[in-house]
């Protein structure tokens, strides 16, 4: 039998039953590879369910640092008989199948290598507690993998010790479980597997974390004090990250009181209302949600836009429309975020592409919201938000200052004859604001969603209202010079063709560009990081005759946004789309581009 042979380059997929405790063991496997110095990209493919349904965990191990999803499974750890058929079918020829042979099976494929380990039987022999018998099967296969991949077992022992720090009693049975699989494999599969993990140094300067965790931490560093939120997959862990880090770093010494308020609202409407109320009153506040929440928040987003209240919203996108695929990924809220709410509204979007950038953009979102006095929406997606990524270490410069924007103090107000909340004093479309309670006689005004004049007074004068809307447009123009610039893959444009992409697509795009390069296809690439689009974006579009726009949605929403905002002719912009709920792959991108260039009609999705 032939076997797949590779070092530090493979995809392993775990098939488990949801709620069986497999997630932490799978995570531990990935972390062990990361600690061996090889970048990994674990992806949890889970059902919208708590217990009993199939769930998968896919880990790509790649020394070159390609972290995008890759089709084809090299090693399948099939622990769920419910999904055997599917799991065996997607295993590559000459791949490895590991299953619990306490109940023997024939899989009907003679082109794969089957590793049998009677995990249930072994755990029943070794443990008496029924819960442990079930749970420790998971660590058992981690031990087996450590052996067959020739990894350093001590890495896993350290990981167990770290995980159970403070609960030392649990270390021994966990190590025992790891050894059950490890020892069994040493005895039965010595030199069997030809896929290996060899220690490397490619994770120097990297950390393993998720975008949601990073963004929540960024909110702490960015000075957010109020988080109002409503639970919704896949954004929940972002709010929880803020709470976790706040409890660690934001408790007053002496009083034990919190320098933050963490409020689980009754729904997304209230979450957004609280966020606006707190920002209005001078605290930095945010909410985190996903598409359905953005729909609910839209009325309030329009109020914050029109009344010019700074607001930060994280939209961790999931598969839509409607309730859609809550546990799958998409980039399909571009338009509903950019133009959220009725009437003429536009919002600042920040689009990070990895957890490090989630941290940075979370910090930046508060500065931009305060500076521009408008909602800032940070767009993540499920893949970026919930999965762990091998990402650059977080950085912070202690000389960084918060930009609280144009806020008048009591002394400022003393020097002003008449305060006008919506006067464009500086000509950049951004007015000055006051916090409630600043001055006994000056600076009070009415914040309202109704049409208003420069002094915040209600007006039904249509000309006045039109002037106000025009100034808001000017402010949006100012925003385009303040938001993060795009990132270019090349120092100088070298092709008449360009690729535009954004967000979590980045990891697959780096690989795709290398593949295209090997095929001698030179295409310039630009990663958009924000809306409104700044000058560099328009220049890149101007300088290329043909542009591929890669997005993870059905309708080419970024393409629509570019056409609408820049009056770009549609013929020039070719969509490369993926919307099956799985993160886009490099292969998908290169196939689509090649198909287009060779004149073959590309299918909608695959």
């Amino acid at each position: 039998m032939s076997k797949i042979n590779s070092v530090n380059d493979f995809v392993i997929k775990f098939a488990n039953v949801n709620g069986s405790g497999s997630a932490s063991a799978n995570q531990m496997f990935a972390k062990g590879v990361f600690r061996s110095g090889i970048p990994v990209s674990p992806k949890n493919i889970f059902p919208s369910n708590i217990q009993g349904l199939p769930t998968w965990f896919e880990v790509r191990v790649n020394e070159k640092g390609y972290l995008g999803r890759r089709e084809g499974i090299d090693i399948s750890v099939a622990m769920n008989p419910q999904s055997y058929q599917k799991d065996v079918a997607e295993l590559k020829e000459n791949g490895y199948l590991i299953y619990d042979s306490s109940w023997k099976r024939e899989f009907g494929r003679d082109d794969i290598n089957v590793l049998e380990i009677p995990l249930t039987k072994l755990c029943v022999q070794e443990f008496t507690n029924p819960k442990q018998r079930l749970l420790f099967k998971n660590l058992g296969y981690v031990g087996l993998l450590a052996s067959i991949l020739e990894m350093d077992k001590d890495i896993y022992i350290s990981l167990i010790e770290e995980q159970f720090k403070g609960k030392e009693k649990l270390i021994e049975p966990n190590v025992k479980a790891l050894n059950i699989g490890y020892n069994y494999a040493e005895e039965n599969f010595k030199d069997y597997c030809e896929i290996k993990v060899q220690k490397s140094d490619k994770t120097d300067g990297l950390i393993l974390t998720s975008g949601n965790d990073a963004a929540g931490l960024g909110c702490v560093y960015g000075g957010a004090t109020v988080c109002a939120w409503y639970p919704i997959t896949p954004s929940t862990s972002l709010a929880e990250s803020f709470s976790k880090y706040s409890e660690k770093f934001r408790v007053e010494i002496g009083t034990d009181k919190n320098k933050f308020a963490f409020i689980q609202a009754e729904d997304e409407l209230a979450a957004m209302g609280m966020t606006i109320g707190a920002n209005w009153n001078g605290a930095r506040a945010f909410t985190a949600t996903s598409g359905p929440g953005v729909s609910l928040m839209s009325e309030f987003i329009g109020l914050a836009y029109f009344a010019e209240v700074p607001t930060v919203l994280f939209n961790v996108q999931r598969g839509g429309p409607s309730t859609g695929m809550p546990t799958r990924t998409q980039q399909s809220d571009i338009l509903c975020s950019a133009y959220a709410s009725h009437g003429d509204t536009k919002h600042v979007l920040l689009i990070p592409s990895d957890p490090k950038e989630c941290f940075d953009f979370a910090v930046e979102a508060f500065d931009l919201a305060d500076r521009l006095q408008t909602p800032v929406i940070v767009l993540l997606d499920l893949d970026l938000g919930m999965n762990d990524w091998s990402t650059k270490e977080f950085e912070w410069d202690d000389s960084n200052q918060y930009d609280r924007g144009k806020v008048l103090s009591r002394e400022d107000l003393d020097g002003i004859e008449r305060f006008g909340r919506y006067l464009d004093v500086d000509g950049d479309g951004i007015p000055y604001r006051t916090y409630p309670g600043t001055h006994p006689e000056k600076g009070a005004y009415f914040t309202r969603g109704t049409s208003h004049d420069e002094y915040a007074g209600y007006t039904e004068d249509g000309i006045k209202n039109a002037e106000m809307l025009t100034r808001l447009l000017k402010k949006f123009q100012t925003a385009s010079s303040l938001v993060p610039a795009p990132v270019f893959n090349q120092e100088k444009n070298a092709s008449s063709m360009g690729i535009i992409y954004f967000g979590s697509t980045d990891c697959s795009m780096q690989e795709a560009l290398d593949v295209l390069d090997e095929q001698n296809l030179k295409i310039d690439a630009m990663r958009i990081r924000a809306f409104p689009f700044n000058l560099e974006v328009w220049e890149f579009i101007e300088e290329h005759d043909l542009l591929f726009i890669v997005e993870q949605n059905r309708d080419g929403q970024m393409r629509t946004l570019i056409m609408a905002e820049g009056g770009i002719i549609p013929d020039k912009l070719v969509s490369i789309l993926c919307f099956d709920g799985q993160p886009i792959t490099a292969e998908h991108i290169t196939n689509k581009i090649n198909a287009h260039l060779s004149g073959k009609p590309a299918l909608a999705m695959s």
Binding site: T225, M272, P436, P440
Partner: protein
């Protein structure tokens, strides 16, 4: 929200409060509500209560939703910041604002449509969370701005101005508020200034969620013979529970209110709300009795007014969440940012 700026000429002999301010200093713009609207009486009572309490207007935030009632904040306390938000969502704006700075006084003005229908969810949770604010419903039993539709506080089978029957039972907001955990619940009538002003003063001084349901007849759409929210109906059926008086901190109370004729409710700042009992033994600390009394009055076709329930010791949201005494909106980078060294520690934990 229409308004007309009021000329600011003070008579030199106007009475002044502890801050040296006159009642005029607590006024707002000229109301554009219909002449005779109960809401204007409420605004005037708010001016009086704030004047008497010597409240600093700029330390008050006035919040509202949408509707006739929600226009009212323009008509009092000119020096306060106001936030006229979206329909039924004032409570969430107030919650966020109060978390940002617990040192201001939060005064929310809502209506029966804004609270009992579109905003019922936010009202429920705001009360439940014990937000430290005064929440007033100017309850006229109708949708005024959209010209006379029924609201959820209309009594079953009461008639609209156009003669239509109301087919659904009414929501009693004070009962709800008590059940939800509001720590100060009162009902009054916009036309009963003698009762309303002390209740407002007490509500504003109470720490926690103070709820006031003020029957405030709509002269245009709901002041006809068959309405149970009309001036005439309320005057005839007002079943005042007690005659309240509010005694600010430091004022001698013993001689004025001999034992046996009044019950004194201490408020968080040390001041007292004295209730003069009219007919029954009424203990505003008894939730169950409060609800029972409301329902008995309702059964008898009466509207029970007065302080229905108060728990002066209840914790408010800030205490429940253990939020710092230093207002969050005054904290800067030094208070909030853990810094580079801590971040390096976090990085180490993620390798």
């Amino acid at each position: 929200m229409t308004y007309i700026v009021k000329p600011k000429n003070h008579h030199p002999l106007l009475e002044k409060n502890k801050l040296g301010l006159t009642r005029r200093d607590y006024e707002g713009a000229v109301s554009t509500l219909c002449a005779g609207c109960g809401h204007d009486s409420v605004s005037s009572a708010i001016v009086e209560a704030c004047f008497q309490l010597s409240i600093e207007s700029y330390k008050v935030a006035k919040l509202s939703g949408i509707g006739c009632s929600s226009k009212a904040p323009a008509y009092f306390l000119n020096q306060s910041h106001g936030f006229n938000s979206v329909h039924g969502r004032m409570p969430s704006i107030a919650t966020g604002a109060a978390m940002a700075n617990h040192e201001l006084t939060y005064l929310g003005i809502s209506g029966d449509g804004d609270t009992a229908s579109i905003g019922v969810g936010q009202f429920v949770h705001c009360a439940r969370r014990q937000l430290n604010m005064t929440y007033i419903v100017e309850n006229n039993g109708t949708y005024g701005l959209t010209k006379g539709q029924f609201s959820a506080t209309n009594d079953l089978e009461s008639k609209s101005k156009y003669g239509d029957d109301n087919l659904f039972p009414s929501i009693d907001l004070p009962t709800m508020a008590i059940q939800l955990g509001a720590s100060f619940v009162a009902r009054s009538f916009s036309g009963d200034r003698e009762q309303l002003v002390p209740l407002l003063k007490a509500a504003l001084s109470h720490k926690g969620f103070s709820f006031l349901d003020i029957i405030s007849p709509c002269v245009t759409f709901n002041n006809h013979k068959t309405s149970t929210k009309s001036y005439d109906y309320i005057r005839e059926h007002n079943d005042a529970l007690s005659k309240p008086d509010f005694v600010p901190l430091g004022q001698e109370i013993v001689t004025e209110y001999p034992m046996g004729s009044s019950i004194e409710v201490p408020l968080h700042d040390g001041s007292l709300l004295a209730l003069e009992k009219l007919s029954q033994d009424y203990d505003p600390a008894d939730k169950i009795q409060a609800i029972q009394n409301i329902q008995e009055s309702q059964r008898d076709g009466k509207v029970l007014t007065g302080l229905l329930y108060a728990d002066p010791k209840a914790k408010d949201l800030k205490e429940i969440l253990n939020v710092s005494d230093k207002p969050l909106n005054t904290m800067g980078k030094n208070d909030l940012c853990p810094g580079a060294e801590k971040l390096e520690g976090i990085n180490s934990g993620l390798r």
